[in-house]
Amino acid sequence: MALALIVILPFAGALLPALFARLGRGASALAAFGVSALALGLLLSLAPQVFGGEVVHAGRPWLPRLGLNAHLFLDGLGFLFALLILVIGLLVIVYARFHLPARDPGGRFHALLLLFQGAMLGIVLSDNVLLLLVFWELTSLASFLLIGYWRHLPESRQGARMALTVTAGGGLALIAGMLILGDIAGSYDLTVILQRGDAIRASPQYLPALLLILGGCFTKSAQFPFHFWLPHAMAAPTPVSAYLHSATMVKAGVFLLARLWPVLSGTDAWFYLVATTGLVTMLVGAVVALFRDELKALLAYSTVSHLGLVTMLFGFGTPLAAVAGVFHILNHAIFKAALFMNAGIVDHEVGSRDLRHLGGLAALMPLTATIGAVAAASMAGVPLLNGFLSKEMMLDAAAQAQWAGQGWVVPLVATLAAMFSVAYSLRYAAQAFFVRRHEAYRKKVRDPALGLWLPPMLLVALVVLIGVFPGTFAGPLVTTAAKAVVGAPVRSYDLALWHGVTPALALSVFAFAGGGILLWRYADARRLWLAAPQPQAKPAFDAAVAAVTEFCRAVTDGLHDGSLRHYLGWIIAGALVVGVGGFLGGGHEAGTRATLAAPPVAIVAWLLLVACCAGVLAFERRRMLALVMLGVVGLIVAFGFLYLSAPDLALTQIAVEVVTVILMLLALTVLPHETPRGTRRLRRLGDAALAAVAGLGAGAAAFALMTRDFDSLSSYYLERSLPDGGGANVVNVILVDFRGFDTFGEIIVLGIAALAVFALVDGARGLTRTGVAPGMLAADLHPLLLAVVARVMLPLALVVAAYVFFRGHNAPGGGFVAGLIVAIALIMQHVAGGTGWAVRRMHVDAPVLIGAGVLLAATTGLAAWVFARPFLTSTYGHFALPLVGAVEVASATAFDAGVFLAVVGAVMLMLASLARVGRGRAKRAAAPAVPPTAARRAED
């Protein structure tokens, strides 16, 4: 339980600083401190068990099916890291309290810091690699937010994005690697995986897994060639650099190397990949560090170098080296955190971090100078300081390493690196604190407040204590941690101060001598360095990102060019490919169904139809004409329906045809009547070809269907229509009863269409166009004769509609057609009398009709609920009606009435709306033209 709390606390506690920020940064810092302290207390409460060699487990399943479980465990390694994270965390919180600018309440800062702390603890305590991944990426996010903390500085934003891209990218590789690892081990739980070392190393998937996992580790721990993000992360506030980018987050990579050491290490692949990378990184980092003048940059590169050192040690794959690695992780965290805080103090007090402008600070700020000097000395590996011990062990391990059978490669490079690290460490201390500075500092420079110097001072104390009494102060910690890594118990002898005269000692003497010389001839060395080519990481990275972005832009813009023609081309062509492809994929035989003979009248109709289609195409530019031809096509289709025993279809088709044509006529009162020329011939040919293929496809499919026999559901409808549906017109019964639900949806579509049309046109009020060829305007639309005819026709139409409606259930007709007839009749009033006239006389509100219609249909359907029957269950009875005769009035008839109302309302609303635009334009065509923008403003 305590274990789980250690991880949960920082997350839960992250809210507190944000809340306390109102009370000033002291409060928010205090809150953060409290949370971390509590977590630390819990950790220490578990110390006895851990040192007793026990592994503490906690957690509960999260996603068992996936093997993603919230399982935690605490062993020596986890304990060491958790301790580092919490202790240094506490010191950083105190330090930050005094380091952040006074106007910053620090709420966001401390909240993010705690979030990071929680994520980091999660990494080192996870007993499930998938859970570890979660925390892993969380640290990347936290570091992204913390590097970008000063959001107004471009270097913060860019550094943050670079860090995120590299580390999160590596994290993605790690995901794949972990999945493979779990795949081999048969579980994602570390405790299990750690047992399967041999199986994993033997598996053919070992190498891909290794590569992917190392991808994650190396990016996180800034190993060459992924090291470039770390220096740019220095844009973060110094406390962040001290915490994330030296002591903890960048250690996550090497932590994982240590964690998986028992499973992955010991192979050649491991040795050459890990040890070599570490070796190179160690040298490169050290060399670059020597020639950096900016304190934090220097420290950043030195961090890179030391991470390389640790990586190399784990890469050797020998227990001794691993122990050294663990030990150095501890030592480096301590002195490097101290150094960053030290650099932060200098920056804070002096206002500069540039070695070239610093010097002689020892006299002005003795405490700070002491901190800097001791920590730097430890970094250089001066005896009696903790850095010395682990460096000795490193050189010792290096001396024994064989690289490609050569015994001299590793020791040489390692010593070179050590030499450079001696040089830059001494340069840091000497240049900043001891070399005399010629002109005086602008402001009064003195040691900072207690809050700023105490935390690093404590760390420096540790540096010395561990350096002198390693067995006492680091022994148990390191041995238990090392035991967790290596598996076997480690003799504490390894952590002694004096190993006698060993090759390692010799190498380290060389290193010091060389370092001294380097510093003595620094000017020459620098000249040499400046002469050498300097690959710049950031421009290269930016260029890469830019290139990828440009590529994506090119692809995206190329595809999404906003051309409807292209979109439709893809769709139609795709449909053909899929349809034809599908057809060829299956067997096919020509149908055997007897075909009907084609009477001459049909052939004539067919010819007419083809002619009209051709006409529509030919006169496409002259829109009126094209529209007329379209109407003719519609009529022929209707005729076809009638001839092929579908009277209902014929009726509906004709009615709809009329309305559609009126609709388009109204549209043409606004739209231009001519389509200007301009399409390329080639493009037209292409379209024609596509169209031809589509036509062939559709025709062939239709023919294939019509020429084969099949049995369908229809027999049922034919039998049940009269007895159960109470109607002889099966089509109508299907519409209002068997499949009344379709019709219910259909009238709703119509209703929505009307509302949409209304909304569209309503929104267009005030919009107008100048210079449109004034065509058929509503004004020209009502010659007297037409007006008279229309008004006479109205009542007639109503009677016809009623007739069509009531006979619909038994003979062709029905609510829909009736509705259309009425609507047309009413619209004729518009067309003839002009909207004004019609509106004056029409006291019905179209939307009300629609709503009423839908509601009537719905309630009819709902009535069935009373009889515990499903929606739309129908019933019917008979009674006689004058003129029409005996009628079954089915409840379906009421439903049909709903359809009728909705149709009338919808069609009227549509046509009326469009007619209004036309008239609006007509008026304005007379009035002086209004510029569209002005018009739109008028609209709002």
């Binding site: 099916r65 970008g148 794949a176 769709i571 060829l584 509302l755 949409a756 719905a858 499903p870 929606f871």
Partner: protein, 507 residues
């Protein structure tokens, strides 16, 4: 008998009709009714989930006509899940719009309710012509919503959207004709029975019919190359409407899953899984182009639209495997990506109105009001969308990676999923830092104050993100349900018996 199953269709229909009648004058009234209806829908949907979780498939025979002759609604685990997702998203979007946004055009709430009716119907119906009708309902409502508020570019985009979908509807009817012409039925369960019996002589026609139908579904789901309409539409639609549209693509995905598992599953013999060879490559391409678009985007809305395309690709990759495990993973991802996309579009709306000069253009401008708050909301939603830990997006991706473990093209899928994630991360990080970090504290005073107090929108976004987090924490339980749903899909016999077995099939 219970009428619960039809409420998700009937309620919004009636409410919408009432709104068309009464709600036109009084916006507050309309708003209240609309919100209430959405809330009730959510409750009904949850009730259906609870009901479905016992594994029983409930049917509702309209007009009491026995299937396959009448139209039947079917509620299984999957359908119930989709209903809940839709209702939840709708509620959040309505909350957002209730902030005065809905006053910018006519009949917003009526259209919105009709949209819900169409969506729910599409999820419930067991008849593929009826499915066509509901597609038309949700489409035509979406046309109305799409151009809500107007503006030249928006209407132009709307016109494109309409035309593309009309062509789609035409194809739908061609497909229906082919399927009916060969099998003589319109009922999906009945189709599942008829398909195996179809003589080889008709397989060619049947295949092209089935594939055309799936093609239309792919068009709705915005599968490459049928995705071209989506970015323009979503990016130009009013942001809150785009948030609702986040579920539209999922209808297509749903229909693909439904039809394939039901009628063209293992039982279909030669015709089994006939969509797979087309679906897998297209889905991988969709993911790629989607994430390319994210990186290429110049406007926030555009970026999120492409992220939606990418998420469709991701989930269809999983679907294309047609294993219960993969389908469950796909469903998990589907829900979370919809929630994330919805939240993101709502954020776009808030950002847009705080940058009167620039809107959602990805260019530095004056510091916006509530930058920190909006920034963190954006961050959380972006984490979910890009599939970073700890949110459901990550869990979903893990599930999909895990489900593709044994796929023949595993290494391709894995590297694709992971590299595209990186593209998305870079894109979103850039967008976030440009919008919420640039134009630093210095300009704080000059921050543009929004026209409206953003309380309701913030609540709406909060709800969506909270849902996403719950989806993450409860992943274990959720996946239990989803696995069961997937298994139910892969045992179509249960569905078929429920529909055709007992007379009417009503309990």
């Amino acid at each position: 008998m219970t009428h619960l199953a039809i409420l998700p269709i009937l309620l919004p229909a009636i409410v919408a009709a009432l709104l068309a009648l009464a709600g036109r004058r009084d916006l507050v009234l309309a708003r209240t009714i609309s919100l209430a209806s959405a809330a009730v829908l959510l409750l009904v949907a949850i009730a259906l989930v609870v009901g479905a979780s016992d594994g029983m498939i409930r049917t509702y025979a309209l007009g009491d006509w026995p299937a396959p002759f009448g139209i039947v609604l079917v509620v299984d685990r999957l359908a119930a899940l989709m209903l809940t997702l839709t209702a939840g998203l709708a509620l959040a979007v309505l909350l957002h719009c209730a902030n005065g946004w809905d006053a910018r055009g006519r009949h917003f709430h009526a259209l919105f309710q009709f949209q819900l009716m169409g969506l729910n119907g599409a999820f419930l119906t067991g008849d593929f012509f009826n499915l066509f009708v509901f597609f038309e309902i949700l489409l035509i409502a979406s046309y109305g919503l799409m151009v809500h508020g107007g503006g030249a570019e928006r209407v132009r985009a709307g016109l494109q959207y309409v035309v593309v979908n009309l062509v789609g509807s035409t194809l739908f009817l061609f497909a229906v004709g082919l399927l009916y012409g060969v099998t003589g039925t319109l009922n999906m369960a009945d189709l599942a029975l008829k398909v195996p019996a179809v003589p080889p002589a008709d397989h060619g026609v049947l295949r092209s019919g089935a594939l055309l139908l799936l093609f239309v579904f792919a068009l709705k789901a915005a599968l490459v190359p049928l995705h071209l309409w989506l970015p323009g539409t979503y990016a130009n639609a009013p942001a809150p409407v785009a948030a609702l549209f986040a579920v539209l693509t999922k209808v297509g995905a749903y229909a693909i899953v439904r039809l394939s598992t039901l009628a063209f599953g293992d039982a279909a013999g030669e015709l089994a899984w006939l969509v797979t060879p087309w679906l897998m490559p297209a889905a991988m391409l969709t993911l790629t182009l989607g994430m390319f678009g994210v990186l290429a985007a110049r406007r926030l809305a555009g970026m999120i639209s492409f992220a939606v395309v990418g998420s469709v690709g991701t989930l269809l990759i999983a679907v294309a495997l047609f294993t219960p495990q993969a389908i469950a993973a796909a469903l998990y991802y589907l829900v979370q990506s919809t929630l994330a996309a919805g939240a993101l579009f709502l954020v776009v709306d808030l950002v847009g109105e705080r940058r009167p000069a620039l809107g959602d253009l990805l260019a530095p401008g004056p510091r916006i009001a509530q930058a920190a708050l909006l920034g963190s909301l954006f961050l959380v939603a972006a984490i979910a969308m890009t599939g970073l830990p700890p949110l459901a997006g990550f869990v979903g991706k893990l599930l999909i990676l895990d489900a593709t473990r044994d796929a023949f093209n595993r290494s391709w899928i894995w590297s694709l999923l992971l590299t595209t994630s990186l593209l998305a991360i870079v894109g979103f990080a850039r967008a976030g830092s440009v919008l919420f970090w640039k134009g630093g504290e210095s300009a704080q005073n000059a921050a543009v104050q929004p026209a409206r107090a953003a309380v309701l929108p913030l609540i709406a976004i909060g709800l969506l993100l909270a849902a996403n987090i719950a989806w993450t924490l409860g992943a274990g339980q959720v996946l239990g349900y989803l696995d069961a749903a997937a298994i139910q899909l892969f045992a179509p016999a249960g569905y078929i018996d429920a529909v055709l077995g007992a007379e009417g099939g009503n309990e």
